[in-house]
C-alpha cells in the first residue's frame, strides 16, 4: 500500500474559477482514485483513472495521470460553493488493498 501526497495543502478560489489539485506518489500503480470529503464526515468516491489512461472526465471534473512522473491532477471547472471540501488521491498498486489516505487538499470556494 502507499499513500498519495496532495498539493497544495489548501486552496481558496472564487466561485466560477477553476481549481487544480495535484497528487504525487512513489511506486508503480494499477489505478488512482480521487475522493471528496465534505464537513468532516464520510468520503465520496469521485473518479478512478487506470494506469493505461492519461485523462478522464466526469462532469466538471478532469483527471490526468502521468505515470512517468508518478503524478496526477484533478481539475474542477467552474467551481461552486458546494465544491468546498477536502480532496484526497489514492494510488493503488499490486501490494494489496490496504488503503491509506494522505492529508488531502482543502478547497474553499468563495461565493
Amino acid at each position: 500500500s502507499q499513500q498519495g501526497e496532495e498539493d497544495p495543502q489548501a486552496l481558496s478560489i472564487q466561485e466560477g474559477e477553476n481549481a487544480t489539485m495535484n497528487c504525487s506518489y512513489k511506486t508503480s500503480i494499477n489505478n488512482l482514485q480521487w475522493y471528496r470529503q465534505n464537513s468532516g464526515r464520510g468520503l465520496v468516491h469521485l473518479i478512478l483513472i487506470r494506469s493505461n489512461e492519461r485523462e478522464k472526465h466526469s462532469g466538471r471534473l478532469r483527471v490526468t495521470l502521468d505515470t512517468s512522473k508518478k503524478s496526477s491532477s484533478l481539475l474542477i471547472t467552474a467551481s461552486r460553493a458546494a465544491d468546498t471540501a477536502s480532496y484526497f488521491c489514492v494510488p493503488s498498486g499490486a501490494g494489496g488493498f490496504k488503503t491509506i489516505f494522505g492529508a488531502g487538499t482543502r478547497l474553499f470556494v468563495k461565493a
Partner: protein
C-alpha cells in the same frame, strides 16, 4: 443494504468507559476498513478486513482498541477504557475487491462521532 451504515452516529461517554461502534457494510463487499479522524486532521488507518484473511491491525493505536468482523459482514470496533484523546470521528468503509489489479473503490459510512469527557 444500499450503503454503509454506522451506529451510533454520535456517542458521548465518560473517560474510562468502554464503547462499541458498529459498521454494517454493503452486502457482498469483501473488504471492510476502519479509520479515525480527529478534528481538522486527515484519516488515520486503523484496521482492514479482507475476506477470511487475518485482519491487518497495523494501525490500531493501542491495545485498548480492537475490532472484529462477524461472518464476513458486520464489524464492531471496541475501545476499552476510553481516554479524551480517543475523541474523534470513526469512519467505516467497505469495498468489493475485484482481483489483484482491479479497482478497489471504497464506500464510506457517515461516521460515528465519539466524544470522551
Amino acid at each position: 443494504g444500499a450503503g454503509v451504515s454506522q451506529s451510533p452516529s454520535n456517542k458521548v461517554t465518560e473517560k474510562g468507559k468502554d464503547v462499541e461502534l458498529r459498521c454494517d457494510p454493503i452486502s457482498g463487499h469483501t473488504a471492510l476498513y476502519w479509520y479515525r479522524q480527529s478534528l481538522g486532521q486527515g484519516l488515520e488507518f486503523l484496521i482492514y478486513f479482507q475476506g477470511n484473511s487475518a485482519p491487518d491491525k497495523s494501525g490500531l493505536p493501542s491495545d485498548r482498541f480492537s475490532a472484529e468482523r462477524t461472518g464476513g459482514s458486520v464489524s464492531t470496533l471496541t475501545i476499552q477504557r476510553t481516554q479524551q484523546e480517543d475523541s474523534a470521528v470513526y469512519l467505516c468503509a467497505s469495498s468489493l475487491v475485484s482481483g489483484p489489479s482491479g479497482a478497489n473503490v471504497l464506500t464510506f459510512g457517515a461516521g460515528s462521532r465519539l466524544t470522551v469527557l
